[in-house]
């Protein structure tokens, strides 16, 4: 059999992977968008009824349906809806009578700040603690940390948030604001004190997961032959930890960090509502309460897109830290 020259994509498995994932991701997002569209616009209790209330006359409903293009076939409706979304025009908020983008833009930024800051702080603390616990496996510190992690893992977000409010904002101390209302036109980073408790709540929730996986991955790596070899060679313990064990534990750590960011997409809903923090989580709950369908559609779609992007990034990162996985055997 003649040797075939590898195509550029075959020679760059990373590029191939990213491309493949992008295609699958866009496909998934398309299906998600269909699901969101059908769920919110086509099922009984459609937008016209949602706006007018259920005792609206048939005449009123018809007028509004024409206005919202609800009288066209569902496929045509979906087509124009998707077209508008892609052109960056997600429609008008029914509750605010403003373009959805105007309503949601500041919220998106605030939520991104909240999720990113909590994710980074949580990851740093958890990986640090996980490495220390693994290095001192079954020691006193490890046992304490592991038991605490097991308990905290299961706590609901709002329980942690309320406990923090009681501790730092109301009953015990009064050193931090218990709600994080931002004046319109300001962004979260302009008022760092307002970010402290929401960030702390989310960080406390995510640390146990990352800690547990880091600890486990490090223990596995520390028990391996190559670490044994390094020790026997007389490599200093810290260097064994950082240069020999940690790189081999990175893949599962990256995966769990990715899962954590995915979790944050849902976790912000509760935390933002607890602190009245003006992000998309609070926006979503407000929109569900007022049945503001265009806003619901946009936020849910944005969260789904975030999920897909994080997944692709995680896969790429895992490939980068595990060279042997880059090539099929």
């Amino acid at each position: 059999m003649a040797l075939r020259r590898a195509s550029p994509l075959e020679r760059h498995p990373l590029a191939r992977l990213v491309l493949g994932r992008l295609v699958v991701g866009i496909g998934t997002l398309l299906v998600v968008s269909i699901l969101i569209f059908y769920a919110t616009e086509v099922l009984p209790g459609n937008a016209a009824y949602a706006i007018l209330g259920h005792n609206a006359s048939a005449q009123e409903v018809h007028v509004l349906e024409v206005e919202l293009h609800l009288n066209r076939s569902t496929i045509a409706q979906y087509g124009s809806w998707l077209g508008n979304m892609l052109r960056g025009n997600p429609g008008m908020s029914l509750a605010a009578s403003l373009p959805v983008w105007t309503v949601v833009k500041a919220r998106l930024i605030n939520s991104a700040v909240l999720a990113l800051v909590s994710g980074l702080i949580g990851t740093l603390i958890a990986v640090g603690l996980g490495v220390v616990a693994a290095a001192r496996k079954d020691g006193k510190l490890d046992n304490t940390l592991s038991a605490t992690a097991l308990a905290v893992t299961a706590l609901p977000e709002f329980v942690v948030a309320i406990a923090l409010v009681m501790l730092f904002a109301t009953i015990v101390f009064r050193i931090l604001p218990g709600i994080s209302v931002l004046p319109p036109g300001t962004y979260a980073w302009q008022r760092p004190t307002l970010l402290v408790l929401p960030v702390a709540s989310l960080a406390i929730i995510i640390v146990p997961y990352i800690f547990r996986m880091t600890r486990a991955a490090m223990i596995e790596a520390l028990e391996s032959d190559w670490v044994e070899m390094a020790r026997l060679k007389g490599v200093p313990p810290l260097r064994v930890l950082a240069r020999h064990a940690l790189p081999n534990a990175l893949a599962p750590i990256i995966q769990v960090v990715a899962l954590t960011f995915l979790y944050l997409a849902g976790g912000i809903v509760i935390v933002e509502n607890t602190f009245a923090y003006p992000g998309i989580g609070q926006g979503l709950v407000n929109a569900v309460t007022t049945r503001d369908i265009p806003v619901i559609q946009f936020i849910v779609l944005a969260l789904a897109a975030f999920y897909i992007v994080v997944n692709i990034l995680a896969d790429v990162a895992v490939l980068l830290v595990t060279p042997r996985r880059r090539f099929p055997r």
Partner: protein, 321 residues
């Protein structure tokens, strides 16, 4: 029939895995915590001194000898509301867990055993549902039909199914390849029967571990939805909603917030700790006891966006290329 083809004798006690877990220290702690809360929720409505919806005192009145937890936001008896506010939450969380584990197990086993197009179709559906955060998925459904309790149960259940399906699919893949299944196929046993009476019973252990994990998440999500106001309509008491409705009066009378929060926390921590004990016992039993296997069981995933780079695959060291 050769020895290899004979079906493996079911490990005695694989159905009794929960009993063995309860024997461990961790399992006992989890069970006791859970039992305390379940007892409060179940017996509570019978022993509540007052009606949970009647006005008994001033809003946020401090506790006294008569009303042990004082008054809530409208001056109702906080203790009676606590005692009556748990059982619906528990029922809904259990029902959602049953829906999620049932759906997920069926989908996972079917995908693994029947394979081919059905497998890829099921796993694509799983990917789509996974793109919604659980709470957001439930909120989306609630936005369509309003906060109906059955709808919330189904929404939370369905949002669990993809993770369950992934975990059980990878467990079922392994069993589908065993010789005793091949022998049954050659004997003409129908696929549905093989799945129902051979594969599913072999998966009891992972199903129990999954169920524990999903129950924890169900309680967290259900209580979270109630906290956001998507639970039973007021004035019905609900631990989740009590926390948000009484938050404003936290300085005058913190008890209507503290007690429900502590009960929910004890419940989720208890269930999760017991689930962890079950996972430890089961992984110990299958001889794959490793910290990584335990951690991934605790996070409840075989992970990432597809099998090749799945967390489980990376963790288990299985080469899945």
């Amino acid at each position: 029939m050769t020895a290899a083809a004979r079906r493996p004798r079911r490990r005695r006690g694989s159905g009794l895995i929960m009993v063995r877990a309860a024997g461990t220290r961790r399992g006992r702690v989890g069970l006791i915590l859970t039992a305390i809360v379940v007892l409060v929720a179940v017996i509570g409505p019978l022993v509540a001194p007052n009606s949970p919806t009647a006005f008994a005192t001033l809003p946020y009145a401090t506790p006294d000898g008569h009303l042990w937890l004082g008054g809530d936001t409208l001056g109702r008896d906080a203790l009676s509301r606590v005692l009556d506010g748990g059982w619906v939450l528990l029922l809904m969380a259990s029902a959602a867990t049953a829906v999620g584990v049932g759906l997920g197990a069926a989908a996972g086993v079917a995908a693994a055993y029947l394979g081919g197009r059905l497998d890829s179709a099921i796993m694509r559906i799983v990917d789509v549902i996974l793109a919604f955060p659980q709470l957001v998925f439930a909120l989306l459904l609630v936005s369509i039909a309003g906060p109906k309790l059955w709808l919330i149960v189904i929404a939370v259940g369905v949002s669990h199914a993809p993770q369950v399906a992934r975990v059980l699919r990878s467990a079922a893949l392994d069993i589908s390849e065993r010789p005793f299944i091949k022998v049954m196929e050659l004997n003409g046993v129908r696929p549905l029967r093989i799945m129902a009476s051979e594969i599913l019973p072999s998966l009891v252990t992972p199903i129990v571990v999954e169920a524990g994990l999903r129950l924890t998440f169900s309680i967290v999500v259900m209580a979270g939805l109630a906290f956001l106001g998507f639970g039973q309509p007021p004035p019905a008491p609900n631990w989740g909603y009590m926390i948000s409705e009484n938050r404003v009066g936290i300085v005058s009378n913190p008890w209507p917030v503290i007690v429900p929060a502590v009960l929910i926390a004890l419940l989720t921590v208890g269930v999760n700790t017991f689930g962890d004990a079950v996972a430890r016992v089961s992984i110990g039993a299958t001889g794959r006891r490793s910290e990584l296997a335990l951690a991934s069981a605790a996070i409840g995933t075989v992970g990432g966006s597809d099998e090749r780079l799945a967390v489980g695959a990376v963790l288990g060291g299985e080469e899945s290329w």
